[in-house]
């Protein structure tokens, strides 16, 4: 099983969600995070004074998928989340040791 974490622009969340559901991914978790890459932050103006926002709001989408579906899912996320401008985000892939469904106690692929 693979854990796929995608950091995306917040307004892309709906597209990514729809793409994942369309591909048969049943569950996902999102969190509101902040971060920057090479995009860096941006400048704002308040009462005549400038200040920089270093950490920009992003959405993190986490899904667990069986190994054979991982590549397809990564490709789907990337194409749904892409705008072409800097700050589109990143996808991180790691191996999952185990997954447990709390209600039934199932382990492994049947728990995804």
């Amino acid at each position: 099983m693979k854990k796929i974490e995608a950091i995306i622009k917040p307004f892309k969340l709906d597209e990514v969600k729809e793409a994942l559901i369309g591909a048969g991914v049943v569950g996902m978790t999102i969190s509101e995070v902040r971060g920057f890459g090479r995009q860096k932050g941006h400048t704002e103006m308040y009462r005549g004074g400038e200040y920089t926002i270093d950490f920009l709001p992003k959405m993190k989408v986490e899904v667990a998928v069986p190994d054979d579906r991982a590549d397809k899912v990564i490709e789907l996320i990337a194409s749904a989340a892409k705008t072409g401008s800097i700050g589109d985000g990143k996808v991180f892939v790691s191996t999952l040791e185990d997954v447990v469904r709390i209600r039934t106690g199932e382990h492994g692929d049947s728990a995804i």
Binding site: E44, M45, Y46, R47, G48, G49, E50, T104
Partner: protein, 568 residues
């Protein structure tokens, strides 16, 4: 399976029957109400024993148009419906005073609502970690200020006012402490009306108390904005008593209580003496100058200034809240300025209200344009400050100027407040999170001076016991401008001096400022005990309480039942 289906059908039937019974009951109830409504005018069958009484009483006539309600029968008279001339004159006088009392009370209620405006504006312009503390200061300044004012402040301010002309009244406020200088009387403070007791338990005095109290509280709440996010609450509480019992009442006595500033005309021929119609200096400068003194003693917020002295913006956490607060203040100002006639029968209130409105608009527009041109964006917080600046500035001259000058006064204030904010922040290096010093202090001073320039002589005959209407230098009276300069200088020297000294002593004895650790974490928990926004700090703070309670227990469900439910 059939059992389940049967059970479900019985449930459905029960629901349908219950619904139909409820509908029938509702129809019956409506029919009963309508029937009794139609029947209420039908005369009851009268018993035969009282025919005379039934014949004499006429049937009551309704008056939906309102033209027949209220007339000669309502004039209090010994012979009902036939009042004498004296009785009619009595009623007229009483009604006139009633209109004035009602007006003063209702406009006072509007000014009370400005407390909410200040609370929202200040909290919106400061950070989320301090909301409970900022709100609590604004909330308690109302209660604490009122208490101090009732105990002593009102007496010091108005104790020697004399008769309240617009409200009849017996003139019980008749004790002013006066000294003699240059052969003239200098009224310094009043000595009647402590606890509104004794002979001051009078309707005119009580009306005046309410009105003056909400003005005092407007001044008292201004410094909480400039001193927010680092002021120790216990120290603030003591301040609340100080401003309501000492500094505000003294200056207000000199201007509104018959004290020496108001008598500069009578005593020294300076126009009508120092004139401040609704309080650009009595209320707003007192607030702004006290705020300056307090902010100087407190020092800036941590992180506001860099080592090289350049300031960092610390954005407010809720611009909508702040803008709403600003609108509430603008609304309350319809009580603040027109109410200061203390008379609904003084129809200058129409001009005052319109002047107030126009200055608020020009203040907002000119502040917005200034920021837009200078910094590239129309900053909402400065536009809000601009509206308030216009309102503060027009507060003194509102009764004496034309609508054109009102607009100009507001426009100047809109630009002046921006300059002042930058001066205070960047040159003087005083941290004022909401711009209170500039809005209320700087523009309050502009307001009283502008009166000395633009007052056009269409109102104010007899003001401060000086014959003739109030005029500024553009309309022929240069001496009024001199009086209008003496006032704000006196205000600054006295209020800044007394407040700075007070805050210094308070700092030495109690400590004005919270610890650095508390300030960085946010004042809500250390000062108020709990976050103002508890859910921002994680759902676990709420869910944790369920462990071990009945809500945390769920019955064991056999695996088969779940599948059956899903398949239906």
């Amino acid at each position: 399976m059939r059992m389940n289906a049967l059970i479900q059908r019985v449930r459905d039937l029960r629901t349908r029957v219950a619904g139909r019974i409820a509908l029938a009951l509702a129809v019956a109830l409506v029919a009963a109400l309508v029937g009794s409504g139609l029947a209420q005018d039908k005369p009851l069958d009268k018993p035969a024993e009282a025919p005379a009484a039934a014949a004499a009483a006429p049937a009551p006539k309704p008056d939906p148009g309102g033209t027949a309600t209220g007339g000669i029968a309502d004039v209090p008279a010994k012979e009902a419906g036939k009042p004498t001339l004296v009785e009619v004159a009595d009623a007229v006088g009483h009604n006139k005073v009633s209109i004035n009392v009602m007006w003063t009370l209702l406009t006072g209620f509007l000014v009370m609502f400005m407390q909410a405006g200040f609370a929202l504006a200040e909290t919106g312009f400061t950070r989320a970690r301090n909301v409970a503390h900022t709100m609590m200061m604004n909330f308690m300044v109302y209660a604490i200020g009122m208490t101090g004012y009732w105990i002593m402040g009102f007496a010091l301010q108005m104790g020697g006012l004399g008769a309240i002309g617009t409200m009849g009244g017996a003139g019980v406020l008749d004790h002013e402490f006066t000294i003699s200088l240059f052969g003239k009387d200098f009224g310094l403070w009043g000595l009647k009306g402590f606890f509104l007791a004794g002979s001051t338990y009078d309707v005119a005095v009580f009306t005046l108390f309410l009105f003056q109290m909400v003005f005092m509280d407007t001044a008292a709440t201004i410094p909480t904005g400039a001193m927010a996010e680092r002021w120790k609450f216990s120290s603030f509480c003591i301040y609340g008593f100080f401003i309501s019992m000492i500094t505000y009442p003294l200056f207000a006595n000199w201007v509104w209580g018959g004290g020496w500033l108001s008598q500069l005309g009578k005593n020294f021929g300076l126009g009508h003496g120092y004139v401040d119609f609704a309080g650009s200096s009595v209320v707003h400068m007192v607030g702004g100058v006290t705020a300056l003194a307090g902010a100087l003693v407190l020092g800036p917020r941590l992180g506001k200034y860099n080592k090289n002295g350049t300031p960092n913006p610390i954005p407010g956490h809720n611009i909508p809240m702040a803008i709403l607060g600003c609108f509430i203040l603008a609304f309350g100002w319809f009580g603040f300025n027109p109410g200061s006639t203390l008379a609904g029968t003084d129809l200058r209130i129409a001009v005052i209200a319109v002047n107030t409105m126009l200055a608020s608009a020009s203040g907002a527009i000119f502040a917005m344009c200034y920021m837009w041109l200078r910094y590239g964006k129309p900053d909402p917080s400065m536009a809000a400050n601009g509206m308030l600046a216009g309102l503060v500035a027009i507060t003194a001259p509102c009764a004496f100027v034309s609508s054109f000058w009102a607009f100009v006064i507001g426009a100047v204030a809109g630009v002046l407040v921006c300059w002042s904010v930058f001066f205070i922040e960047r040159t003087f290096k005083v941290d004022d999170p909401v711009g209170a010093i500039s809005v209320h202090g700087t523009c309050g001073a502009w307001g009283v001076v502008s009166l000395g320039i633009f007052a056009d002589g269409t109102y104010g005959d007899g003001f401060n016991s000086v014959q003739g209407t109030v005029r500024g230098v553009l309309y022929g009276d240069g001496s009024q401008l001199i009086a209008q300069i003496i006032g704000p200088i006196t205000n600054f020297v006295f209020i800044f001096g007394a407040s700075y000294l007070f805050f210094k002593v308070l700092d030495a004895v109690l400590g004005m400022r919270v610890s650095a650790a508390d300030e960085l974490e946010g004042l809500d928990v250390p000062e108020m005990g709990a976050h103002g926004y508890p859910e921002v700090h994680g759902p676990s703070t709420i869910v944790r309480g369920l462990a071990g309670t009945a809500a945390s227990w769920t019955p064991a469900v056999p695996a088969g039942a779940m599948t059956a439910e899903r398949s239906r």
